[in-house]
């Protein structure tokens, strides 16, 4: 279907597709098997200017928006969610600087991020602060011209690989969520180390690890926004990035669907290709329906975000939830169409199914998304009474 993309958008999509097909597909199984971070692919993405898509031109980026980022993420996800997670997490870590950074902070960090020279990670989750983000225990104590960080962040995508970390920590525990602040912490800051690298079910090419802060001194100027704005920084960041997770769902679903279609045409049972059987046809049709609906939704929401709209929380949560729920269903059904072959690691679909599961969990579980959606609904209902 034609989504009326402009010339630049088509160019961005095609560039991402070329990288996906030429550089990612040939190595994705190996990266998964070895749980290896895709450093080479990151280099190609950097060469192609992919890291600068959504960064303003004055900071070395291309000045594009959410839709362009979604197009790139979708294409990368069609080949490998592990790679696309590393790429998308970079955007997640960059949004706090983009949305709340001072001119000095933007000038200092954004050009290196846009060129892909330095990777970024976002540090919010902790052992006791997942869905309940207000349960953060990492502290940042003000001391003269510095903040002193103590605590441990958990399951941080790009942990260890990134050089710039945007971290949410409590500057005033007594104020609860209003006592959180967002800080930029650079790798190699004394007192900042990495804990164990997690062993995951899927997206195994991406790096996930703990960030450990032990009396880590960070300059006061590294604060994003004001003291106590950490929770707002986190929520606005997630509002911006959620649609991209939806695009990951569309991409992985598309990838699995194509594999299933190809297999169904060539697999012969009862002397016929299995695509001639209605049981298979209906499954493929249902996949196509779900993917196209999700894509239309994700692109529409991305365009709405790019319009400068303020009320993007609900719609971005809707796009994320729908597109990632269908990604789980479509990858599962794609594997089912392929039967025993689908279950084997000789084909990429079992990996896609393992990978897809994380989309319903990270950047806010789909249950939390529904809470977010309904909180907006309650406000809307009360306004309309």
């Amino acid at each position: 279907m034609d989504y009326f993309l402009d010339e630049d958008q088509v160019m961005i999509r095609d560039t991402a597709r070329q990288i996906a097909e030429e550089k990612i597909v040939p190595v994705r199984a190996e990266l998964d098997e070895k749980e290896q971070f895709p450093s080479e692919i990151i280099k190609f993405l950097a060469q192609a200017d992919m890291f600068g898509l959504f960064i303003p031109e004055e900071y070395g980026g291309l000045g594009k928006g959410a839709l362009e980022l979604c197009l790139a993420v979708e294409e990368l996800s069609r080949a490998c969610l592990g790679v696309s997670t590393s790429y998308a997490a970079n955007a997640l870590g960059t949004y706090p600087i983009l949305l709340f950074g001072t001119e000095e902070q933007k000038k200092k960090y954004l050009p290196d991020i846009a060129s892909g020279k330095r990777l970024v990670a976002f540090g919010l989750t902790e052992a006791n602060a997942g869905s309940d983000a207000a349960g953060i225990q990492t502290t940042a104590t003000k001391s003269g011209t510095e903040y002193i960080l103590n605590g441990t962040k958990q399951w941080i995508t790009n942990g260890g690989e990134a050089e710039i970390y945007t971290v949410i920590a409590m500057t005033d525990k007594s104020r609860g969520a209003r006592g959180a602040s967002a800080l930029i912490v650079e790798k190699d800051t004394p007192g900042f180390t990495f804990g164990k690298k997690e062993k995951k079910m899927g997206i195994r090419a991406s790096s996930t690890c703990e960030l450990v802060f032990d009396d880590c001194h960070v300059p006061k100027d590294n604060i994003l926004g004001r003291d106590g704005m950490g929770f707002i920084v986190a929520m606005k960041t997630l509002d911006k990035s959620r649609t991209g997770v939806g695009a990951q769902g569309v991409g992985v679903a598309q990838g699995a669907f194509e594999e299933a279609g190809k297999f169904a045409r060539s697999r012969v049972q009862f002397e016929k290709p299995i695509i001639s059987f209605q049981a298979i046809q209906h499954m493929l049709a249902d996949m196509a329906i779900q993917i196209e609906a999700a894509r239309a939704l994700v692109y529409s929401v991305a365009r709405y975000v790019d319009s400068g709209a303020k009320d993007i929380t609900k719609v971005s949560a809707i796009a994320k939830t729908f597109a990632t729920d269908i990604a789980m269903r479509v990858t599962t059904d794609a594997l089912q169409v392929m039967g025993g072959s689908g279950y084997m690691r000789d084909y990429p679909v079992e990996k896609m199914m393992r990978d897809a599961k994380i989309l319903q969990i990270y950047e806010g579980t789909n249950q939390i998304q529904r809470n977010v959606i309904c909180q907006s609904l309650i406000k809307e209902f009360s306004r309309n009474v």
Partner: protein, 260 residues
């Protein structure tokens, strides 16, 4: 420093069909790509540019549609592109092609000229070295590594059947490169946007003040009689011992096969 990279637009297949009547390549219906070896020459030029702040111009001789290939190289990071295009160039063999390209390079000026080791369609590996001959500058073929570039000379590795040579040459110089040299970079989005807008400079034979009799089919002495893959002969004997023993052994072998 000025670098010129010569590229060729070739059919996207390593198994080009040949018209048995004319013994020329059949290009119809085959999509075009940049000759893969030339991409390594492009990467070499861009790496030198990154290190030494050189100006990179990409050059090709071909029909107007070869512009697409030039734009791809602009998207990779080349500064300028020149298309040699003229009806008078049509039907050029390696001699006429090298003659024409050499004239264009002299016209544009270059300290280093880079070419792929050969094109995947013709596979002659003649045009690169022949350009250097027409320009009367040194050339080094099969370059697998650039060791160093100083103000007026270059040191490279030349890939040989067994091992490599280290070769130094004064500038200006022409290098033909092998794929072991590097990994070509991706075209960047900014580069693609620049390429889209860029007007490609075109040169005709009149711009280069060339003699029309040396151009195109008229200027091409090559007549292809037949095309076949040469037989690989791998048999060889290594003779050891003192020089005297080696000579005796060699004479007896030559006698045995009735060469002497």
């Amino acid at each position: 420093m000025k670098i010129i990279v010569c590229i060729k637009q070739v059919p996207d297949t390593s198994e080009v069909r040949i018209n048995p009547e004319t013994n020329t390549l059949i290009r119809d219906g085959v999509p075009s790509i940049i000759n893969p070896f030339d991409l390594h020459a492009v990467e070499a030029a861009l790496s030198i540019k990154d290190a030494l702040n050189a100006e990179v111009t990409v050059l090709t001789m071909g029909p107007p549609q070869a512009e697409v290939s030039l734009k791809e190289v602009i998207a990779m990071g080349a500064d300028a592109a020149v298309l040699l295009t003229d009806r008078a160039f049509a039907g050029s063999d390696t001699w006429a092609t090298a003659y024409t390209l050499a004239a264009a390079i002299k016209f544009l000026g270059a300290d280093i000229v880079l070419c792929g080791k050969q094109a995947i369609d013709g596979d002659t590996a003649q045009v690169g070295p022949a350009i250097a001959e027409f320009m009367d500058i040194p050339h080094i073929s099969y370059v697998s590594k650039i060791e160093s570039i100083s103000g007026d000379s270059i040191t490279v590795r030349r890939l040989m059947d067994e091992g490599y040579d280290i070769v130094e040459a004064p500038l200006p110089v022409l290098l033909t490169v092998v794929k072991e040299l590097n990994q070509p970079r991706m075209a960047s989005l900014k580069g693609k946007m620049r390429a889209k807008k860029l007007e490609i400079r075109r040169l005709t034979y009149k711009d280069l003040s060339l003699d029309e009799n040396n151009l195109g089919l008229k200027g091409s002495p090559t007549r292809v009689k037949n095309i076949f893959a040469p037989e690989m002969k791998k048999d060889r004997i290594v003779i050891g011992g003192t020089p005297e023993e080696q000579t005796d052994e060699l004479i007896s072998i030559l006698k045995a096969i009735k060469c002497i």
